[in-house]
Amino acid sequence: MDGKADKGRRDFLILTGYTMGAAGLAGLAVPFIDSLNPAADTQALATTEVNLGLLQPGQAITAMWRGKPVFIRHRTSEEIEQARTVELKGLPDPEADEARFKDNPQFLVVLGVCTHLGCVPLGQKPTDNKGDFGGWFCPCHGSHYDISGRIRKGPAPKNLTIPPYEIKDKLLKIG
């Protein structure tokens, strides 16, 4: 037998073997890793419904959606006016107040999760510290949000997230 040809063939077989083995192990890893992702029942979009009929201007309530708090604030016309006159230049995450609503600008709906490291900001209760801009104040690392849920001061990089929602006849459906 030709020694050289034999060596080439052997290398080919070994490399093919290793490659197939690696591919097999990688394939086997998929179910293990994917099983750690949200399961189907967790994935199934849970929707939360909130009746806004009793929410007076200036009042706020907190709903729960996908395990997270959702801040719902009935804004007064002065607050809306105030939110819309803010100079966007110089905001950490510039976004016009109008852009944060489809309709019903009196009802602000944002996730109550600080975009810094996930704490729940204060400001829902009348007695809470609402921060320097009359919205919310995160006690963990001192982020201030305004009445539009925009970050104004502090370490948070983004405005409070707006979840998918719609409002029909004073009924809010989140998710």
């Binding site: 998929v30 179910p31 293990f32 994917d34 099983s35 992702n37 399961a39 189907a40």
Partner: protein, 414 residues
């Protein structure tokens, strides 16, 4: 490991990082000595595959088990539902569970074959007595682990299996009932029982890993037995483990995984009981209660005795007798290959085990009861009478001088 000689070092052309590590922690040269260069008898047949298969099965069981535990809830109110959630909602949860569930059966198949191989070729004989004893300990722990694992889904068979097996201990005179209450953590199989079974089901596999390590240290101290039962004398009687036996083991592994996969994907509930898909009900016992197949022979021994304590004692003895096999066998010849009478006794022993397995699945009356009584009698007679006596009355066939000689003879005979 005082006995392990540092017979191999890393080759000169191995890379610098490997050398750096090995100089400080000689793990690489240890692995090379024990898993690559390890001198192995040149004549091992395919029955020697089952040790490595058992090791790999243990790893697969631990991995799938840890992943299942991430989704399982050990509480009587949630256990059944959490298992169903694994089956329906968790991504690939069905796959993990079916691998684990069928893996238990695969594990026992492999280990039973492994043990029957040792029994035939005399692998338990001097100087491998401890190697065998560690093996029997592993079997005992496996049985406990499998039993407790079967309780976790909290189906009807889980609950009633747990009830029946724990009640075995009530046969112990005087303290039996107190022991059962202690095992349950209450006055019936209930939430405390489920909780501790889960904790122990998670723990035991790691104890098995420890025992497997000792099993391997003992194995590598005197090396593998081989089909002739003759100790390798010359260096030419042995070949390096890699590539010869790695390749042979991988071929066996591929076939084994194919069979396992066939069950997982095409008949995942083949070994299971439909009743275990009914949530546990402490008020209703299923009409026909059977243990998993791997316990059937022992279950048949239990039921062959018309006395509660006697049956329990005999069943446990059926396992414990294995511990003293090395001292029951009096034959000067190790391998069954050269023992004409032992060969016959061994075949009947296989038949008795299968018969016990069959009888264990039937109602304990009529023909199955008779069969289980005869087979139980033979089971114990094989160990306690035939093994010691055959060593004296049997005239063994001529044993080859060396492993190479046995190969040549076999070749010439063809």
């Amino acid at each position: 490991m005082a006995n392990v000689k540092k017979s191999s070092t890393l080759s000169k052309d191995s890379n610098r990082i490997a050398k750096w590590i090995d100089y400080r922690l000689p793990i690489l040269s240890f692995l090379k000595a024990e898993a690559v260069d390890y001198p192995t008898p040149r004549n091992l047949n395919y029955w020697w595959n089952f040790g490595s298969l058992a090791g790999i099965t243990l790893v697969i069981m631990i991995l799938t088990g840890i992943w299942l535990a991430m989704h399982y809830t050990p509480h009587t109110a949630h256990a059944f539902e959490s298992v169903e959630r694994i089956m329906r909602d968790v991504n690939y949860g069905w796959l993990l569970r079916y691998i684990h569930m069928n893996g238990a059966s695969m594990f026992f198949i492999v280990v039973y074959v492994h043990m029957f191989r040792g029994l035939f070729y005399g692998s338990y004989k001097k100087p491998r007595e401890l190697l065998w004893i560690f093996g029997v300990l592993i079997l005992l722990l496996m049985m406990a682990t499998a039993f407790m694992g079967y309780v976790l889904p909290w189906g009807q068979m889980s609950f009633w299996g747990a009830t029946v097996i724990t009640n075995l201990f009530s046969a112990i005179p005087l303290v039996g009932d107190s022991i059962v209450t202690l095992l349950w953590g209450g006055f019936s199989v209930d939430n405390p029982t489920l909780n501790r079974f889960f904790a122990l089901h998670y723990l035991f596999p790691f104890l098995i890993v420890g025992l497997v390590f000792l099993h391997l240290v003992a194995l590598h101290t005197h090396g593998s037995n081989n089909p002739t039962g003759v100790e390798a004398k010359k260096p030419s009687d042995k070949i390096p483990f890699h590539p010869y036996y790695t390749v042979k083991d991988i071929l066996g592994l591929v076939i084994f995984l194919t069979i396992w996969g066939a069950f997982v994907f095409f008949a995942p509930n083949f070994f299971g009981e439909p009743d275990n898909y009914i949530p546990a009900d402490p008020l209703v016992t299923p009409p026909h209660i059977v243990p998993e197949w791997y316990f059937l022979p022992f279950y048949a021994i239990l039921r062959s005795i018309p006395d509660k304590l006697g049956g329990v004692v005999l069943m446990f003895s059926a396992v414990f007798v294995m511990f003293i096999i090395p001292w029951l066998d009096t034959s000067p010849v190790r391998s069954g290959r050269y023992r004409p009478l032992y060969k016959i006794a061994y075949v009947f022993f296989l038949v008795a085990c299968v018969a016990l397995g069959w009888a264990g699945a039937q109602e304990a009356e009529g023909v199955p009861l008779l069969v289980s009584r005869l087979a139980t009698a033979y089971y114990f007679a094989f160990f306690l009478i035939l093994m010691p006596v055959l060593g004296f009355i049997e005239k063994p066939l001529p044993v080859p001088e060396s492993l190479q000689e046995s190969k040549r003879k076999k070749g010439a005979g063809r």
